[in-house]
């Protein structure tokens, strides 16, 4: 098993290298001139300024050289500086990523807690009223344009009812807790500052809830479908024939089997959320990675784009690995295949 994890992590290296090549090629292929983007049209009209600028950022080197330099720095943990923010990209990522992780984690926890019971109830009551209600609600959740929902929620809960706080991660009067993880909820707990904690939670609630409407819809349907495919299986009849109650049959045997494939969907959804939901982050003034990626793209900020790409690559690979490991923890057949090296 450890060997398996090591192999998977080892595979991360070629994947990331490949991603740098692609990201590098793509970012250089974008027709935007970073010089214009960064210095503005006026400065760009002065050849001397442009030349100095290009030399400073290494843009006057041939492309392969630029790439090699980049990779060399990368190996030292240096993602070079952002053209736009003038700070090291690593530092930028460190400040933007935690916000996204915090939001994504809250969202995925919320929607998993909601959707698993909903999906199970819907499957067990298939075709009757509870099932219909669940299906209708989740359909709405999936179909509703999420930015519209976000705007409507802000309008109702913040502007009219005043029960939700203004956009942002904290009240302007609150100072962020001492930085440990960068996630304010966790950091404030570490600092023992309950007031800041509740403030952070209340700011987190609305965006997480809005994002969860989408993922809850998907997860509920997945849980329901998976349960429906497990419920007719022979081993449940066997469980009943042993004298198990319906409750024990469903919760003790059907659900554990049905939830295994749901893990994949949870993982994928989490990966999606982690790479940022730009619209939500924008509407709720959430300084997350989606936000950062968006600006990097607008300003043709190559180092930032590359940095973001790499981070996304790592996130996807790690999330996938975690999904596989959870799978293995839950399903002995997959575990056996992994240990014997057949996967």
């Amino acid at each position: 098993m450890i060997g398996y994890v090591a192999r998977r992590l080892f595979l991360l290296v070629p994947i990331l290298l490949g991603m740098t090549v692609i990201a590098f090629a793509v970012s250089r292929a974008i027709p935007t001139d970073p010089v214009v983007a960064a210095l503005g049209q006026q400065a760009a009209d002065h050849p001397a300024i442009v030349a100095a600028y290009r030399h400073h950022w290494g843009l006057d080197q041939p492309l392969p050289m630029q790439y090699l330099t980049y990779v060399k720095n990368l190996l030292h943990g240096d993602l070079s500086d952002s053209i736009y923010t003038h700070r090291p990209v690593t530092q930028d990522l460190r400040s933007y990523m935690p916000a996204t992780i915090e939001l994504a984690t809250a969202t995925i926890l919320l929607s998993t807690i909601l959707s698993v019971p909903l999906g199970i109830v819907a499957a067990v009551t298939r075709g009757t009223t509870p099932d219909l209600i669940v299906r209708l609600v989740t359909l709405v959740g999936v179909a509703m344009p999420i930015f519209w929902l976000a705007l409507a929620a802000l309008d109702v809960f913040y502007l009219h009812l005043g029960i939700a706080p203004a956009p942002g991660r904290l009240n302007p009067t609150d100072a962020p807790p001492p930085n440990v993880t960068g996630m304010y909820t966790v950091d404030s707990l570490i600092a023992g500052n309950m007031k800041t904690f509740w403030d952070a939670v209340s700011h987190l609630a609305l965006p997480a809830l809005i994002m969860a409407t989408w993922s809850t819809g998907t997860l509920t349907r997945m849980t329901r479908t998976s349960m429906l495919s497990v419920l007719p299986q022979g081993f449940l009849r066997m469980v009943r024939s042993k004298g198990a109650t319906e409750l024990h049959t469903v919760l003790g045997h059907a659900a554990p089997n049905a939830l295994i494939p749901v893990v994949t969907v949870v993982g994928l959804a989490y990966g999606d959320l982690l790479t940022g939901v730009i619209l939500i982050e924008t509407i709720f003034g959430w300084p997350g990675i989606g936000h950062y990626a968006y600006e990097a793209a607008i300003y043709a900020d190559f180092p930032a784009i590359m940095g973001v790409t790499l981070v996304f690559g790592v996130i996807y690979t790690i999330v996938n690995l975690c999904v596989d490991l959870v799978y293995a923890a839950l399903d002995p057949r997959i575990r056996a295949a992994m240990i014997s090296g057949r996967r």
Partner: protein, 682 residues
């Protein structure tokens, strides 16, 4: 309604079960009644769709969703289970009545260790604490012959072989010591030698613990092994119900009689066609009027078409037939509709055995070896080899039928596919009509296919669902450029031959029954007049009453076309009846080979003997000593050293573990791979 005599454990009275609701409801059980006393064994026999599984599922109310009881009572110890609340039902299930289902793989929770599943009934019924339940479960597994039960408890179902799983399921059913166990086809998915073990076990449990058993099977022979009484079901009702001995010795219902006669058995001369039951079992939704058996019954008279006969006592049995009263059925049924129309004097006892010199060898395999690699997705791990075929040499001559028998995983299917060059061999040589075809490829290979044809277990998979039967049969003819008119004529001819008639040419595959589709598969194989046909389990998927028809068809085909046939089957009864020569395979090797009658009556290899003795016999005529092999076939990826059979062999000696026995000729045309072959007779 009626409580039942004292001593009656279970009284089922006029049980009706329907599938679907409202106007579309189809009755699948139409009034079944029986009593079962404590410690008795009832065998329930019927083909698929006869309602046998529905009948027994209704007893602990475990019918599949969509099916429900529409009438009758099920009194267990005087309590009508159909009326009790769910709560009470879960008290009865597992503790009073438990079930063993057919497919042990799907009977166990795949992600739960075996131990907790086996002890679950005790825990659910609060008969023991977890720890005590675990101990009991271990003892139970031990009693059922699972080696190292402590470790077995910690394993997952997929790590068990089929036989082990079925034993675990039986252990679960027995752990709470219920007075009644219902076993629904408990051995159908298992290999012959394992089937023998399980039946043995059920019989022993009944004798030693006094557990009452309802045993369901499609195979009358299996049921008759351990049941005192047998009920034969047809179209949702009992048609004959009585003491096993009477029912087998003197079947009163034409269906029972026909079932018995249609079974291939050593007593039926090879040259005779089996007394096949014409037609197919009816669908529950479209039962014929009157007696549902009348379209297939050789005795059917006017009254049979209009009124359904009641189940009435005849002798010691209950029989549902208008003519079942003693003596009113003619003793020997007249030969009725046979599947083929051509005149083929059915009893000319000319064997296909040696014509003057040895007939031409059509196909020979010489030292053929084929390994498989387990698929392997990651680098840095060693792939596992499976020896599917290991140094196999066999020859089949014109006019011969070479039967290949063995249990699952013995390599018989791989052998068939290599013979047809559908799979490449790793080493060895394949000769076809004198030519080395081991490495033939491309157009040459395509041309060869004209002379060698496959017949598969499920012809449906190989038929294009959207093209009419006629086109499917004519397809190989097109491929080899047979002109249009000639093709039409030939398609008509072969469809006629297989007993379908030319009018079926326009039908689509899904409009045909399983038996009819297999006829199409045969028609397609013979359309090009091939020299060699390889049939892989061609009758295993068919209903019992249809199997005999197809076996007959194979016999006819052999007589008519005089080709070389390789017939692969796990069912030794069929192989023995059909083939002139037999090769017995074990773990990728041929362990015994020779003329089939000689091999079957005087087996030399201990495995052949065990396989033969595991064939359930209908009329326990001569009570034989059954050789029950212990354990399961070893894994083909890690065969034992020396003789691969040694882990299950009673005669194994030290030398068997060191030196693999060579397949050597012991008498003319007879070879065996064993250091200590049995002496004749046994």
């Amino acid at each position: 309604m009626n409580g039942g005599r004292t001593g009656d454990l279970l009284v089922v009275n006029d049980l009706h079960v329907a599938v679907g609701g409202g106007a579309g409801a189809i009755e699948v059980v139409r009034g079944v009644s029986f009593r079962l006393g404590s410690g008795e064994v009832l065998g329930l026999v019927g083909e698929s769709g006869s309602g046998k599984t529905m009948t027994v599922s209704a007893i602990p109310r475990l019918l599949p969703s969509g099916a429900k009881v529409t009438g009758g009572t099920v009194c267990f110890k005087g309590e009508d289970l159909l009326g009790v609340p769910r709560q009470r039902l879960s008290e009865v299930r597992g503790k009073e009545i438990s079930m063993v289902f057919q497919d042990s793989l799907t009977s166990l929770d795949p992600i739960m260790r075996v131990g907790p599943q086996v002890r679950e009934p005790l825990v659910l019924h609060r008969l023991a604490g977890r720890r005590a339940a675990t101990l009991t479960a271990q003892q139970e597994l031990h009693r059922l012959g699972i080696p190292d039960p402590g470790r077995a408890m910690m394993r997952y179902p997929h790590e068990f072989s089929g036989g082990m799983r079925q034993r675990a399921v039986i252990a679960t059913a027995l752990i709470a010591a219920p007075p009644l166990v219902i076993a629904d086809e408990p051995t159908t998915a298992l290999d012959a030698t394992v089937q023998a073990q399980i039946l043995d076990l059920l019989g022993r449990l009944n004798r030693e613990l006094g557990v009452a058993v309802i045993l369901i099977s499609h195979d009358l022979a299996v049921v008759s092994e351990i049941s005192k009484t047998v009920a034969v079901m047809y179209a949702g009702r009992f048609v004959e119900f009585g003491p096993t001995r009477d029912l087998l010795a003197q079947p009163r219902h034409p269906y029972t009689r026909a079932l018995l006669q249609s079974m291939p058995s050593p007593d039926v001369p090879k040259t005779r066609r089996l007394a096949a039951i014409p037609g197919e079992p009816p669908l529950a939704g479209a039962l014929p009027s009157g007696c549902p058996f009348h379209p297939r019954c050789p005795y059917a008279a006017e009254i049979c078409r209009s009124a359904e006969p009641p189940l009435e006592p005849v002798g010691h049995s209950l029989v549902s037939c208008w003519f079942a009263k003693d003596g009113s059925l003619p003793a020997a049924p007249k030969e009725t509709v046979t599947s083929t129309v051509r005149v083929l004097a059915p009893d000319v006892s000319e064997t296909v055995e040696p014509e003057s010199p040895a007939p031409d060898a059509i196909l020979s395999l010489e030292h053929v070896t084929r390994h498989f690699l387990m698929p392997n997705r990651l680098p840095f791990t060693a792939p596992a080899h499976v020896h599917a075929l290991d140094d196999v040499s066999l020859t089949v001559r014109r006019g011969q039928v070479l039967g290949i028998a063995g249990e699952s995983g013995c390599g018989k299917t791989t052998l068939g596919r290599c013979a047809l060059r559908l799979l490449d061999v790793d080493s060895g040589r394949i000769r076809f009509m004198g030519r080395d075809i081991t490495r033939t490829g491309g157009e040459d290979l395509r041309q060869l296919r004209r002379y060698m044809q496959p017949i598969f277990q499920d012809p449906y998979a190989s038929l294009n669902p959207r093209s009419p039967i006629g086109d499917s049969v004519g397809e190989p003819l097109i491929a080899f450029g047979v002109a249009h008119d000639e093709r039409k004529r030939r398609v008509r001819e072969v469809l006629d031959f297989v007993g379908l008639g030319a009018r079926y040419a326009a039908h689509l595959p899904h409009e045909l029954s399983g038996g009819q589709r297999q006829r199409v598969g045969i028609a397609r194989a013979i359309a090009l007049n091939p020299e060699l046909i390889v049939a892989d389990e061609p009758i295993s998927a068919l209903d019992v009453s249809v199997q005999a028809q197809i076996i007959n068809l194979f016999k006819d085909m052999q007589r008519e076309f005089h080709l070389a046939l390789i017939f692969i089957s796990h069912d030794l009864r069929v192989v023995r009846h059909l083939s002139t020569h037999i090769a017995i395979m074990f773990l990728g090797q041929v362990v015994e080979h020779g003329p089939s009658e000689v091999v079957c009556s005087r087996p030399l290899h201990p495995y052949t003997a065990a396989l033969l003795s595991s064939v359930p016999a209908v009329l326990g005529a001569a009570p034989r000593e059954r050789i029950v092999l212990s354990g399961d076939p070893p894994s083909p990826s890690a065969p034992p050293s020396g003789c691969r059979f040694r882990t299950r062999c009673r005669f194994a000696q030290a030398v068997c573990a060191q030196t693999p026995p060579e397949l050597h000729e012991v008498e003319a045309g007879r070879a065996v791979a064993c250091h200590f072959p049995l002496s004749g007779g046994g």
